[in-house]
């Protein structure tokens, strides 16, 4: 039975919520008519709603606790469905093949508008995977990630404007410039961890944006740079629609490339060092891992992807200005990583698709978008703190020892 104590608690919570939301939900001042409308029915709905939600949350948490309390042997059996699929190659391969086919056919099946949205979402997938190296794997909380994105975008915009350089030439340059900037940012923050690191990177992101906004001779300030060339394809002339489809395929290729590289990096000597760095820095150093080098590599590799996506962003919109690179952008990318599951590639992909596509298809609710955004993050952190799909632990094979059996996980 549901304990009476919890009912009382929920009742208190609902009263508290009713009280907190009283000024905005109940009182409505009409300054023209000079009247105050008292919407008491709203008070009732708020109280009822929060009461029901708090009871549901409590029930869920109780059940979760009870499940965790049972024998640990069961844990293996209740391993999430998704994780089991990801572990088994015979499910994973057909599944990824199906997803890939769908991704390749997407522009043929849907309108240009849809393709355009999907391109944006996939760009955020790459951004998320890049930030995942820094935040998810190496555990360095970076709130200024958008700065590297901006560097990529502006390097294409400026190189194209001044020197007429093409998309394909600038793509690696943008990535490299961002990676170098990542190292430059990395140096001063090597000693910092957690909150302190977050503040410094936050400041760094703002510095880059402010430079772009105020250094008019360099970046044309808030008015931005327009008429950036779209990516070329052996000098072919493309219609507007074909151009969008073309960029879509570039981004799909980039996503595949990113997944491949990030997956291999995570599953390497370097990836393990990052994980260890996240867990315990002092032990890491005592075990012979060069902290400075490992951290700088994480920063620069993370930044590299942001630089690449930045170049694509500039080519896609043909226009950049500092307003595209605000802190909100960093926050969204970070939310993608946290919501999807820190360190989990599949999780980050899902996180990006959900967070970017959902607002697009919920245009009708656009006024409540940020509210829903915040709400989802809060709910996720309460009920699934490891993200939608948490990282699958890798298991290793050993050489058969003469006297011992091979231990298969």
């Amino acid at each position: 039975m549901f304990p009476v104590k919890e009912l009382k608690r929920s009742l208190l919570i609902s009263l508290w919520f009713a009280f907190l939301t009283f000024p905005i939900m109940v009182i409505k001042v009409d300054p023209i008519e000079r009247t105050v409308i008292w919407r008491w029915d709203n008070l009732f709905f708020v109280a009822l709603g929060s009461f029901v939600i708090s009871i549901l949350a409590k029930v869920y948490l109780l059940r979760k606790e009870r499940r965790a309390g049972r024998k640990k042997v069961k844990k293996e059996l209740t391993e999430p469905f998704v994780q089991r699929i990801l572990r088994e190659p015979r499910f994973l391969f057909p599944l990824s093949f199906a997803v890939l086919t769908f991704a390749l056919l997407f522009p043929a099946l849907f309108s240009t508008y849809q393709t355009n949205i999907m391109t944006t979402a996939l760009m955020y997938v790459v951004l998320g995977l890049g930030l995942n190296i820094v935040v998810g794997v190496a555990g360095l909380l970076d709130l200024g990630y958008v700065a590297f994105y901006a560097v990529g975008a502006y390097s294409y915009a400026l190189l194209n404007m001044h020197f007429g350089m093409g998309f394909w030439a600038v793509l690696p340059i943008g990535g490299l410039l961002a990676a170098i900037l990542g190292i430059l940012l990395g140096f001063p923050v090597l000693r910092l961890r957690g909150d302190y690191l977050a503040i410094v990177t936050l400041g760094f992101g703002e510095i880059i944006r402010l430079i772009l906004e105020n250094w008019n001779t360099f970046s044309q300030g808030p008015s931005g740079i327009a008429n950036i060339a779209r990516p070329g394809f052996f000098g072919m002339q493309m219609s507007f629609d074909a151009g969008i489809t073309y960029i879509y395929y570039i981004v799909v290729a980039l996503v595949i490339f990113t997944i491949f590289v990030v997956n291999r990096l995570q599953d390497s000597r370097l990836g393990r060092a990052w994980l260890a760095l996240r867990e315990d820095e002092i032990a890491c150093e005592a075990m012979g891992i060069d902290r400075t080098k490992t951290k700088l590599i994480a920063f620069s590799l993370g930044a590299f992807w942001a630089g690449l996506v930045g170049v694509i962003f500039a080519a896609k919109t043909t226009f950049v200005n500092p307003a595209s690179f605000t802190f909100l952008e960093s926050a969204i990318i970070l939310s993608i990583v946290v919501l999807g599951g820190m360190g989990s590639i599949v999780g980050v992909i899902f996180g990006a698709l959900i967070l970017i596509l959902m607002p697009e298809y919920l245009r009708a609710l656009s006024e409540y978008r940020m509210l829903a955004f915040g709400g989802i993050l809060v709910v996720m952190m309460v009920f699934k703190p490891n993200g939608i799909i948490s990282n699958v632990r890798r298991s290793y094979r050993f050489k058969k020892h003469p006297s011992k059996e091979v231990i298969e996980p």
């Binding site: 390497s268 000597r269 867990e279 005592a286 012979g288 290793y396 231990i407």
Partner: protein, 263 residues
């Protein structure tokens, strides 16, 4: 007797006005088990931290001499990871494993400084990298067998029982191929059975050619295990010698039991 592989001369560490370590000498010879004992707060762990590069000593010299090549290295001010590369690895008093990584991965981290593959290797995964990865896994697994943790390879480190965590720390340190192993209170919090197993393990490691310096409070373990003992109190070395000599040293008895022991 063979040459000393670790030579500490006049090591001093000040924290502001406090002398945590005051002019301490210590030497370890190849194949020895040396213990460093002393009452709480005597500066033993600070001494370890100075040796392993976590603190920089205020004065004095630490020289490590590689037993095979005979190469001498002055460790003062070197970074901890470099010191580990030189062949001196340590464990921690308050266990510092990587809690959410598996037992095997913990040991694999220890292999980091003995392997080379880098970003291109990780991305292209050529034959050299694959061979190296395989070697890392196999060597790590062998080390786990040595310390008796081979059944828990895929377990998360934080789920291991306390004694096993201690052994895992030793395994992780061994994976860095040290010729000198520093153990900071390896038996702390262990029950008698676990302690006994630990003594056996330390003997085995020593026989395999690793010299050992350990800090320990368990006198029975120290007396039965060590070849020589150094005693510290208030940051100073107050005695050194074989277990018998130290046991009967009046300065040591005074340090442990207080001034008026026979009053």
């Amino acid at each position: 007797m063979s040459e000393a592989i670790l030579n500490v001369k006049g090591l001093t560490k000040n924290f502001g006005g406090i002398k945590a370590i005051d002019n301490v000498d210590l030497d370890i010879k190849l194949g020895e088990i040396v213990a460093l004992i002393g009452p709480n707060g005597a500066g033993k762990t600070t001494f370890f931290n100075c040796l392993t590069g976590i603190y920089t000593p205020s004065a004095g010299d630490i020289t490590l001499c590689h037993p095979e090549s005979g190469k001498e290295t002055r460790l003062n001010g070197m970074k901890p990871n470099k010191i580990t590369e030189e062949g001196m690895a340590r464990t921690f008093q308050n266990i510092r494993l990587f809690p959410t990584m598996s037992v095997l991965e913990n040991v694999m981290i220890g292999r980091h400084c003995r392997t080379k593959s880098f970003i291109p290797g990780a991305i292209f995964r050529g034959p050299a990298t694959r061979r190296e990865e395989e070697e890392i896994v196999n060597v790590s697994y062998e080390i786990l067998e040595k310390v008796g943790l081979e059944k828990q390879v895929n377990e998360e480190a934080r789920n291991l029982p306390y004694g096993a965590q201690r052994r895992l720390e030793i395994a992780r340190a061994l994976a860095t191929e040290p010729f000198l192993l520093l153990l900071d209170e390896p038996a702390a919090g262990m029950n008698p059975n676990e302690t006994e197993a630990l003594v056996g393990l330390i003997r085995k490691i020593c026989k395999e050619g690793h010299s050992i310096l350990l800090i320990e409070h368990d006198m029975k373990l120290v007396m039965s295990l060590s070849d020589r003992i150094f005693v510290m109190d208030y940051g100073r070395k107050i005695a050194k010698g074989t277990p018998e000599e130290v046991r009967s040293n009046p300065a040591v008895i005074k340090a442990y039991l207080g001034e008026d022991v026979d009053a």
